[in-house]
């Protein structure tokens, strides 16, 4: 039996291209995903957008126009001077400029000076992300609305080439700023004044309680586990598909003639798939941990638990590999066998959430996904990262072992008996 395990490991070892594939790809993908997601969302400062403010409105002219409008309204002189005094204090254009240059926004918004034509070109070139345009008559229109109750509206326009993460954030920020200003105006118009300081919500996050100070799990941990388990599943397929070659090149028939028990062949596949996926986990996790520090400051217990779960998962991988091997030998059409194994692996990958997160999918699919080996491992490890309760691991481990036993039993039962084939 040892010889068979050695054979399968050697077959794998001989093909360096394959080894590189199996070892480098998962690491590469985890690193890519990490860059793509966590880098952006963790610190918003990573986002930088360049805008230009084009001001067509002449504040002075607007004020004069407004004064004229007040004049024409026919108010009493006291009211007039009151309104004009209010208007002097209020400069909507300045308000917007102040906002765009406020320290909060400075961190990620750079305001550059361009003429309108230049700015439009820059936006098209992709040099600028957006233009904020303050159109002519802005001051006049907004002042007459606020102070005279006219229906005119001053409107700021954001011009962009196409929507992007940056532009929509900018849009949101400007929107909420304008909203706040409007609300202030609204309150002003009702003549209400705050009677007390508002009791602002403290908000804050509460990480779900664990007995021993639970840690939140991070998105990179999610990726690491998802991709790691996915590639272990691929490993099951890789090892078992070698059977196709062995069947085609009559290796299997020759083995049968050597008086070794046919099941040794199966056990060879199972054990080598198990060993290879453990190696894959070990290398992937070590490299990813060293490169990205995915699991910072974890105790020895944590790593031990992680290892136990992954070993159980590797066992399932071995079981699947046995199943695919037996299937390849059982079915006369090897293509069908590889088709079926691809379907199984892809099904697990998709349903277990290894390709993309399952949130937002219909409930029944999520439920099924939790029962795929990789989905279950994912859930178990997410809990383990947070709480490190060993009891939580018992069920997934026994489930994974159960899958292994069932797969192995099925493969033994459909494995070609001696004398047939």
């Amino acid at each position: 039996m040892g010889a068979f395990i050695k054979k399968d490991l050697l077959v794998f070892w001989r093909d360096r291209k394959e080894i590189l594939m199996a070892l480098l790809l998962p690491i590469l993908i985890i690193v890519i995903l990490n860059f793509a997601f966590s880098g952006l969302f963790k610190d918003e400062k990573a986002m930088q957008i360049d805008i230009s403010v084009v001001q067509e409105d002449d504040v002075k002219k607007g004020m004069e126009q407004f004064a004229a409008a007040v004049e024409a309204k026919g108010l009493s002189s006291e009211e007039k001077s009151a309104v004009l005094a209010e208007a002097d204090k209020l400069d909507p254009v300045q308000l917007i400029h102040d906002f765009l240059n406020s320290s909060d926004l400075k961190e990620w918004v750079t305001v550059k000076d361009f003429s309108e034509k230049e700015a439009a070109e820059q936006v098209k070139n992709g040099e600028l992300d957006a233009i904020i345009k303050i159109p002519e008559g802005f001051t006049f229109e907004s002042l007459s609305h606020v102070l005279l109750g006219e229906t005119s509206q001053g409107s700021v326009t954001i011009l962009a080439e196409e929507e992007s993460a940056g532009v929509s954030t900018l849009q949101e920020v400007v929107h909420s700023f304008i909203n706040t200003v409007n609300t202030q105006f609204a309150l002003g118009s009702k003549g209400v004044q705050a009677t007390a300081e508002p009791i602002l919500p403290k908000g804050g996050k509460e990480v779900v309680e664990g007995n021993d100070g639970a840690d939140a799990y991070t998105i990179s941990q999610y990726f690491t586990i998802a991709i790691g388990t996915l590639f272990a599943l691929f490993m099951a397929q890789t090892v078992s598909l070698k059977t196709m070659t062995e069947k085609r090149e009559q290796v299997f028939n020759r083995i049968l003639l050597t008086n070794s028990h046919p099941l040794s062949f199966l056990i060879g596949k199972t054990v080598s798939a198990f060993i290879l996926s453990i190696l894959q986990f070990a290398i992937t996790l070590t490299v990813v941990q060293l490169l990205l520090n995915v699991f910072p400051d974890k105790s020895f217990t944590f790593w031990a638990g992680l290892m136990v779960v992954l070993i159980a998962f590797a066992l399932t991988v071995g079981g699947l590999s046995a199943l695919f091997t037996a299937l390849t030998l059982h079915l006369s059409d090897t293509n069908a066998a590889s088709g079926i194994s691809t379907l199984v692996i892809m099904g697990f990958g998709v349903l277990g959430g290894s390709f993309f997160p399952l949130e937002g999918l219909p409930e029944p699919i999520q439920k099924i996904g939790e029962w795929t080996p990789n989905g279950l491992t994912q859930t178990a490890l997410i809990e383990w990262v947070q709480y490190s309760h060993f009891n939580d691991l018992l069920f997934p481990i026994s489930f994974l072992m159960g899958v292994f036993i069932i797969c192995f039993a099925i493969s033994v039962s459909i494995f070609p008996k001696r004398g047939r084939s």
Partner: protein, 367 residues
Amino acid sequence: MYPVFYAQFLKDKRKPLLILTFIGLSILATLIFGNSAWQTNTTVAVFATGPNAEEIEQKWVKLLNKDNENTEYVISEEGEAREQVREGKRDIAILLMEQDYRLITASDMPNIQLIEQEVHKVFTEEAQLQAIAGSADTAELREEIDRYLEKPPLTVKIKSVNGGELTSHNMGTQLLFGFTLFIAMFTIGFKVNGINADKVSGVWNRLNLSPVSKTNMYTGHLLYSFFIGFFQMAAVFLIFEYVMNYEIGPLSLILTIAAVFTLSSVSLAMLVAGFTKTPEKFNMVYPSVIPIIPIISGVYVPPGVMDNPVFTFIADLFPMGYAVEAMMDAALFGADWSEIMLPVSLMLLIAVIYMGIGINLGERSRR
């Protein structure tokens, strides 16, 4: 060429189960994923504790759901909500209090920040209103302000630099196209692998001895793969358009892009088949490379997120980014034939190059 093509068809016709399952499951998967992507609506569980929990829940849920289109806040039971967060089934739940809130979470997933912003805004607004009204009953004041804000003094408009409307980017549409293309690539690869299978089984050699030319042998195989792949995609798009009534843009444009994409995917699969040489290795390499492509092409994230120059360069080597971009342009921004020419021709270029390298590699002596 025709006999080779027909032979492939006959093989499938004799054992139709496998290929039909493959296509059927692919279509099903695309429909399910595309469908749920289309209606992206996060629900967030909220709950309150204490004697007047119900009152608090009712009050805040109404306010929280008022302006937020993408998130739905649902009252739920405390134990259940906590349990779901604990097991990682949901990212977040919210504990509501009289004037404050706590986010219950176990992770630092990106959308938590978005939800926090939304919730914080609602609570702050309410707090300010309460301070002004001087009592907890803000309904009247709120109504007055709402009336005023129906015609606010300041507004923000968003426009395209070209003067038209800036169509908002629709993540659901992007995911729908992305999934369709992604899953079709598997079917295509599965069929292209037939060349490798023929090579190792000796059929290829026998064909070599027949009057059929090499070119015809390849064209027959690849054309068949093309048709299967295109059939699958066309079926998916037709179902989306006519059965589910999604607006996926002008069908003629979308199907043209899909056809060109299929062609370049066939080339990509041929490239992999060329350097793997046996069907087993193909089955090992191809499925592990394909899942990276949509990730790196930024199909799962809004545009502008994947801006690392190295990754964008790698993504440019694959047809998927171009195809999704062209389909999005056609579906959302009303692009016409001239505007999709660039991505289409780039995909054709990829098709030609990969096909050339792939066949060349495949023709090199084996072993």
